[in-house]
């Protein structure tokens, strides 16, 4: 009603605090609850076969049960977590190092930058079969591919960070005759830190995606393989439980790293 009484169109008015008595975070909850309830009702209504969809409550119950199974925790969860950590650590270190080399040398910058720009247009996962033939279905191809997939986003963010150091500070460093290590530690790293952290956050998300996707397509164990195996065995309950578990796991991992990293971010203090 208010909207009609005002001559100011709604798009220039400040956003309302509440719509229908609820603030926006409550609406987020309403939205999620509504989606879950709709799925639950649809699954229970009998309009869809139990082989295709099960109620959300059963998915959640089963995925909590999975946490109590030793096979699942050790073979799938722990293994995938270790793979994700290993590839994330590798891409964080090499990514920042490559970006530093690019910031230092014009030649390296010019040689690498075009590839960084187009990298995510290329379907890297096509390389996975090659790596499997060369290194077997063990952990090596998964770590290699996940590192490759996540390192480029770290590079591009860290590079933006290294280049954001104000020229006046770089000049000051030269007149103070600082060594390269001193410049890196006292100027480049601190000024690049917020961008590096943003890159690392995305790097983790990409590492998770790559590890789970490769396990899903072709592996013998791991979280992704749990879903794949359940699908192939027509075990719909386990399949949905695995999907719910993986989704919640990825969400929590990303949120946790985001919270941990923003503690170091001086721009947000």
């Amino acid at each position: 009603m208010k909207a009609r009484s005002s001559v100011v169109p709604s798009y220039v008015r400040p956003a309302p605090r509440r719509v229908a008595g609820l603030p926006s975070p409550m609406w987020t909850l309403v939205l999620v609850a509504g989606l879950v309830a709709a799925l639950e009702l649809y699954a229970r209504s009998g309009a869809v076969s139990r082989l295709d969809l099960i109620p959300v409550s059963e998915m959640v119950v089963r995925s909590v049960e999975l946490l109590g199974e030793r096979d699942f925790v050790v073979d799938a969860l722990l293994r995938s977590v270790l793979l994700i950590c290993a590839s994330f650590a590798a891409s964080a270190v090499t990514g920042v190092a490559i970006a530093y080399a690019m910031a230092r040398s014009r030649w390296v910058h010019r040689a690498v930058k075009p590839y960084v720009n187009v990298f995510y247009a290329l379907p890297v996962f096509a390389l996975y079969p090659v790596m499997v033939v060369m290194f077997g279905t063990g952990v090596v191809p998964i770590i290699l591919l996940a590192t490759l997939f996540s390192v480029v986003i770290v590079i591009s963010h860290a590079l933006v960070g290294f280049e954001s150091a104000p020229p006046i500070v770089t000049k000051l460093a030269r007149s103070l005759e600082m060594t390269r290590t001193q410049q890196l530690r006292k100027i480049l790293l601190p000024s690049a830190l917020p961008d590096i952290l943003a890159g690392l956050k995305l790097g983790l998300a990409y590492a998770i995606i790559a590890v789970l996707a490769t396990e899903f397509i072709l592996a013998t164990t791991g979280l992704g393989q749990v879903v794949n195996r359940a699908y192939n065995n027509f075990d719909t309950v386990d399949m949905y439980a695995g999907i719910v578990f993986v989704s919640v796991f990825a969400l929590l991992a990303n949120l946790a790293l985001g919270a941990a990293l923003s503690a170091f971010d001086w721009r947000r203090r």
Partner: protein
């Protein structure tokens, strides 16, 4: 200007040439069946390209990719713009979409298979979902970022909703739309290839895994190169488009 542009191409080409040389030398030294050199890979790619079944696979992938890409761009852009116009609803809906987007979507692919069956529909739908979420997010942020000054001006001129969209919002979000189109192309293609690798009866991803079970590495590498080239051409064109649009429409801040 042209001279400078000429030298800018040298370092990346030198790097690429160095990598190919390293590849050729190590392959010659290793002399192993699972590590073919560039020559063998290109030769097998050439013979693959003479095979009508393989060409059919390439055409299948291209057709499904085109359809799902166009759908992802259109749906993502329009819904993103509609949501972006309302700050309140953006704040309510965005957290859910960001959360969905951070989930590794490939594990959801079996659901697509159960609901849509094995075939073009399920892999196309999966590729669509891989592309539409990022496009939607980019467009919501872009629409929310339309200059407030422009919005106030159009309010003062009493523009209707429709002409506000046409004259202020759409030109304002065009640069983001162009970069979204470039980003989503890669994401849609990755989604499609993953889907084809998991289950398919044709398509480039299917060919890759079929050669894996036949242990024909030189064919796989040849196809990887082909996929890279096929992905690169539209990307370069989209990059060109993006820089043109940016030159024309970007508001200097």
């Amino acid at each position: 200007m042209s001279a400078r542009r000429g030298t800018a191409w040298i370092p990346p080409l030198v790097l690429a040439a160095a990598l190919v040389v390293v590849w050729a030398v190590t392959a010659a030294l290793a002399d192993s069946a699972v590590y073919p050199g560039p020559g063998e890979a290109m030769a097998s790619l050439w013979s693959d390209l003479g095979d009508p079944r393989f060409l059919g696979s390439v055409a299948d992938t291209a057709r499904v990719l085109l359809l799902s890409y166009v759908a992802a761009i259109a749906v993502g852009a329009v819904t993103g713009m509609v949501l972006g116009l309302s700050a309140f609803w953006s704040r309510a809906v965005l957290p859910v979409v960001y959360a969905l987007n951070s989930v590794p979507k490939i594990v959801l692919y079996p659901v697509f298979l159960l609901m849509l069956g094995i075939g073009d529909l399920s892999r196309g739908a999966f590729a669509f979902v891989s592309g539409v979420l990022p496009m939607f997010l980019i467009m919501v942020e872009a629409t929310a970022g339309v200059s407030r000054l422009h919005l106030k001006m159009s309010a003062a001129l009493g523009l209707s909703r429709w002409s506000l969209l046409r004259r202020i919002v759409v030109p304002g979000v065009l640069p983001s739309l162009a970069s979204g189109m470039r980003l989503c192309f890669g994401l849609t293609l990755i989604g499609l290839l993953l889907a084809e690798m998991f289950s398919g009866s044709s398509g480039l991803g299917y060919e890759l895994l079929r050669n894996l079970s036949l242990a024909r590495v030189e064919n796989i590498i040849g196809q990887v190169v082909l996929t890279g080239v096929l992905a690169l051409l539209p990307t370069l064109a989209l990059q060109q488009l993006e820089s043109r649009i940016r030159n024309r429409y970007e508001v200097a801040t």
